[in-house]
């Protein structure tokens, strides 16, 4: 069934709220009264409910099936976290209340910070970034502030980034006006140590490295890289998107990392919500800690205190580089992540990494003879395949992935990382059972066989059984229709 847009369901005069006319209304609006109709549709509560329930049913979700998107860490989202985030003491608290009335909120932030620091082996954490990319920006700003503080701000203008990096890495560096210099990869999918060293120099500000990397492999030379970076007077930024592979087992601080963002919505299970909100706290090394942005929480004799202004920070001996965001960060996500961490504990978190890695290796081992794997195992939490197994079949990575939809699965990450041709990157996470993995592996084997068996139409037209067939993305970009307008013909709103 087609579901119209709310604007097409407009029933003027209907409403989903009951609000009384205010008594004794005497406006003090000056000349600013809005005159024209806004154009919002009228709908009753039952109509709104049904519209969004029906829309929801057009979505795939982790609660309904495996979501094997590499690099996205789509794991189970515990409902305890949701319940805790909705406690009035957390959800219904204003960021600018007097601090004595929010001691529990500050305690939570402080406790979460402690957990993040312990898990990463880092001495400081900036809590306020609102997402992974925002955390990257924060970490790189701290690096820049440190460079500026030692008078090398103008001198160090280059950032080294591996070819396989997430797009956010170069985009972040560019935002800060750095030049991005790509490091090539070796045949075994890792940073080319020699090439990297050759690129180091007095104009290098930092390296941005993902570890485990986006091929799902652990950078064996990471400590040597860190040492070389530090020796060259630069800093080591680590992209923490793949922290799920090592949490509780390996501490980035022990590897020589200076800054790393943590995606609470990946490693610590705050839900992705169709694209956010996320949260991206950044852990910082001793060298970068003084430059952490405002605000931050300190624990004094009379309770917790939020340091909100540069003046207060100065009194503490810090030199915050500025402010990333209004208020104090994604409290709602902090509560969820805290509930998740407390539930697992130090033992459970270590098990998370082990099971995530075990599940990925199980997939790699089970499928390497059916699909094609560019690199030898063991992998970490992701299993990477390329499109060699599709050679000559006329089926492309995209088709293969779309065919998975017809089998009831969300596709894996496609065409990323770029260093592999026609990449298929699978991240099962630790919250999938062996039973589920076996079914998934069976389906992929079956599809690989079908592709090799010349069953091409099954792939090129896929998906056949989804709410929509393939959508014309070119049309969308060429002639952008970004909002509903009364004039728009109601094309398919049957």
């Amino acid at each position: 069934l087609e579901e119209p847009l709310i604007f097409e369901l407009d029933n003027p005069g209907a409403t989903g709220v009951d609000l009384d006319e205010p008594e004794g209304y005497e406006p003090k609006l000056g000349a600013f009264e809005r005159k024209a109709r806004i154009g919002l549709p009228g709908m009753s509560e039952p109509d709104v409910m049904r519209h969004y329930v029906r829309l929801s049913r057009k979505n795939y979700s982790i609660d309904a099936g495996l979501y094997p998107l590499g690099s996205c860490t789509m794991k189970h989202n515990p409902r305890l976290n949701e319940k805790m985030a909705r406690l009035p003491g957390f959800a219904d608290v204003h960021p600018l209340q007097p601090q004595k009335t929010v001691q529990g909120a500050l305690e939570l932030m402080d406790t979460l910070a402690h957990w993040l620091k312990e898990l990463t082996g880092m001495p400081a954490v900036a809590m306020s970034p609102k997402a992974g990319a925002h955390g990257e920006l924060c970490g790189m700003m701290a690096i820049r502030a440190a460079l500026v503080a030692r008078g090398e701000g103008d001198k160090r203008t280059r950032i080294l980034v591996p070819e396989s990096a997430h797009g956010t890495n170069p985009a972040t560096a560019a935002l800060l006006q750095y030049k991005v210099d790509a490091i090539p990869a070796t045949a075994d999918g890792r940073v080319d140590l020699a090439a990297f060293k050759a690129k180091l120099g007095p104009d290098v500000a930092a390296i941005m490295l993902t570890n485990p990397n986006t091929c799902g492999l652990f950078e064996r030379d990471i400590m040597e890289i860190a040492d070389a970076v530090h020796e060259a007077g630069a800093y080591f930024y680590c992209d923490g998107a793949n922290f799920n592979a090592i949490v509780g087992r390996v501490r980035p601080g022990d590897l020589g990392v200076d800054a790393m963002h943590i995606n609470l919505h990946k490693t610590f299970s705050t839900p992705h919500g169709g694209g956010g909100p996320g949260a991206g706290p950044v852990v910082l090394s001793e060298a970068l800690a003084p430059f952490a942005p405002l605000p931050y929480v300190v624990h004094g004799a009379d309770g917790f205190r939020l340091v909100e202004t540069a003046g207060e920070a100065k009194a503490d001996g810090s030199h915050p580089f500025g402010r990333m965001v209004a208020f104090h960060g994604q409290m709602g996500m902090f509560v969820r992540a805290m509930a998740y961490m407390m539930s697992h504990g130090s033992d459970g978190l270590r098990q998370v990494a082990e099971d995530a890695v075990l599940n990925a290796n199980y997939i790699l081992a089970s499928l390497k003879d059916h699909l094609s794997a560019p690199f030898e195992g063991p992998c970490m939490h992701e299993a990477l395949f390329d499109d060699r197994f599709l050679k000559g079949t006329g089926v492309e990575t995209l088709d293969f992935a779309k065919a998975m939809i017809d089998e009831g699965y969300h596709p894996m990450t496609m065409y990323f990382p770029l260093v592999v041709h026609g990449a298929l990157l699978i991240e099962p996470t630790e919250t999938e059972s062996k039973h589920t993995l076996d079914q998934f592996i069976g389906t992929l084997k079956h599809l690989a066989q079908a592709a090799k068996g010349n069953d091409k139409s099954r792939f090129t037209g896929a998906p056949h059984f989804a709410p929509r067939h393939r959508l014309d993305e070119t049309l969308a970009a060429r002639n952008p229709v970004l909002r509903w307008q009364a004039e728009t013909p109601k094309q398919a709103a049957e």
Binding site: P22, V53, K58, A64, P98, A365, H469, V481
Partner: protein, 448 residues
């Protein structure tokens, strides 16, 4: 552990298939000196009951807005969110889905984003809007960067009554790119700020907030004209989206970009986050916009459908040439916004705005009646500034002890300016009753 499905038997079997002796084998690429054999120094796993107890205890140490007469605003507002909203955003299909990169099986997300974009465009009086930003402050900073791209100039001029946090975020992001920012000193409500004289040939944009930090409604028309005359853009900042139900939208006053904080609709206070940033502009600037965009198209059968579009602006395609490094947005908060606004509809949204304004006017009148208190605003929506006969910080502190959360001292976010010392910024929404107002007035009389 309840979230981990593998049993010891499963693990043994899987290691067998892999051909590894132990899980440690799989971690063999980790340098030996970085491997940790034991656990990190943190507590062990806990059951749901225990976690719930510990966090409930922590939460109970906070004074929740709903439990007291509550009058704090300053960029986050306490509104009633209908129960339908929270029910719907918790639907598994919304809560636990990813960014809609596979449009065939994420039409639910894509369609509500399209509805959201349309709603934001309508509210702000603009042509188009994106699918949300992190919050109002980052939307504001991104708008400045966009103005830089559009005008190919580098200098932003910020009103002195822009929310101080927004100013800080703009400055931080601009400084990152080495771009200068000129920020005015705050003009008190009722006094007109001379921002027009600051607009020069190198000005990329002027950033003005309405209602301002002090709650004052600002006339944007002359500023827009002046900016346009110099080839600069006007960026309007709306910290309280409910105001758009009652006041002229910035789009009708000449703004080129409207950014705002959408928290008031559908989203709780959450101690500051997650919120939802609104970003709207003119059609001609679409390809310079930051953030995710959802567009209408057709599928292979010709049926209407929605996709993420113009992603050539985005980091995962453009890498270092992207318009912004943004990856995540505030999808679920945008959904909450869209659902709440659908429930309100044209009539309900306007009525909500009227109630907010009426309550603020009543409160202003009541507080003005207290000896020594002076209401400073000329025109305001649901927030205004009063001058007290003594330090606002001390007064707020004393009010809190009496169980009233009575506003935001202007100096909390702008410390060190003696002229702001006694100013208190007070907000009132539909949640306030006559009883709340009476409590506030009584408590204020006692502490003054």
């Amino acid at each position: 552990m309840r979230y981990l499905p593998l049993t010891p038997a499963d693990r043994r079997e899987m290691l067998g298939v892999i051909g590894a002796k132990s899980v440690d084998d799989l971690f063999r690429d980790v340098p030996e000196r970085a491997r940790r054999d034991g656990f990190v120094d943190l507590p062990r796993r806990q059951g749901e009951l225990e976690v719930e107890r510990a966090l409930t205890k922590m939460a109970a140490k906070n004074v929740s807005a709903g439990s007291v007469p509550f009058f704090i605003g300053g960029g986050a507002y306490c509104h009633h969110v209908p129960s339908v909203v929270d029910h719907l955003i918790q639907r598994s299909e919304f809560l636990t889905s990813y960014t809609p990169y596979q449009p065939e099986i994420t039409q639910g997300t894509l369609q509500y984003l399209f509805e959201f974009q349309t709603q934001v465009a309508l509210l702000t009086g603009m042509d188009v809007a994106n699918a949300s930003m992190y919050d109002g402050s980052t939307a504001c900073a991104e708008a400045v960067l966009m103005a830089h791209r559009v005008t190919k100039r580098k200098k932003a001029v910020l009103s002195g009554t822009l929310h101080p946090h927004y100013r800080a975020v703009v400055e931080n992001l601009c400084e990152a790119g080495g771009d200068p920012v000129e920020a005015l000193a705050p003009a008190l409500p009722g006094k007109t700020e001379d921002i027009i004289s600051r607009i020069a040939d190198d000005t990329s944009c002027v950033v003005v907030q309405t209602p301002s930090y002090f709650g004052e409604l600002i006339d944007l028309r002359a500023i827009a004209d002046a900016a346009h005359a110099k080839g600069a853009l006007l960026i309007a900042v709306v910290p309280e989206v409910v105001s758009l139900g009652l006041v002229t939208p910035p789009g009708e006053m000449g703004a080129d970009v409207v950014v705002g904080e959408g928290q008031s609709i559908g989203n709780g206070l959450n101690f500051g986050g997650p919120y939802v940033g609104l970003f709207a502009t003119r059609t001609k600037y679409v390809r310079q916009m930051p953030g995710r965009l959802c567009g209408q198209t057709v599928d292979a059968e010709g049926k209407r459908g929605f996709v993420l579009t113009l992603s050539t602006r985005e980091q995962h395609i453009r890498r270092e040439k992207a318009t912004s490094n943004i990856c995540t947005n505030s999808g679920l908060c945008a959904l909450a916004f869209t659902i709440h606004l659908s429930l309100l509809g044209e009539d309900g949204f306007k009525q909500l705005a009227r109630i907010n304004h009426a309550n603020a006017v009543k409160l202003g009148r009541a507080l003005s009646g207290v000896a020594g208190v002076e209401l400073l605003n000329g025109a305001f929506f649901n927030e205004f500034t009063i001058r007290l006969p003594k330090s606002a910080t001390a007064v707020v502190d004393a009010l809190a002890d009496k169980g009233v959360l009575g506003g935001l001292p202007a100096s909390r976010l702008i410390p060190g300016d003696a002229s702001l010392e006694n100013l208190l910024i007070v907000a009132s929404t539909e949640i306030n009753t006559d009883h709340d107002r009476a409590d506030f007035v009584a408590a204020l009389k006692e502490v003054l």
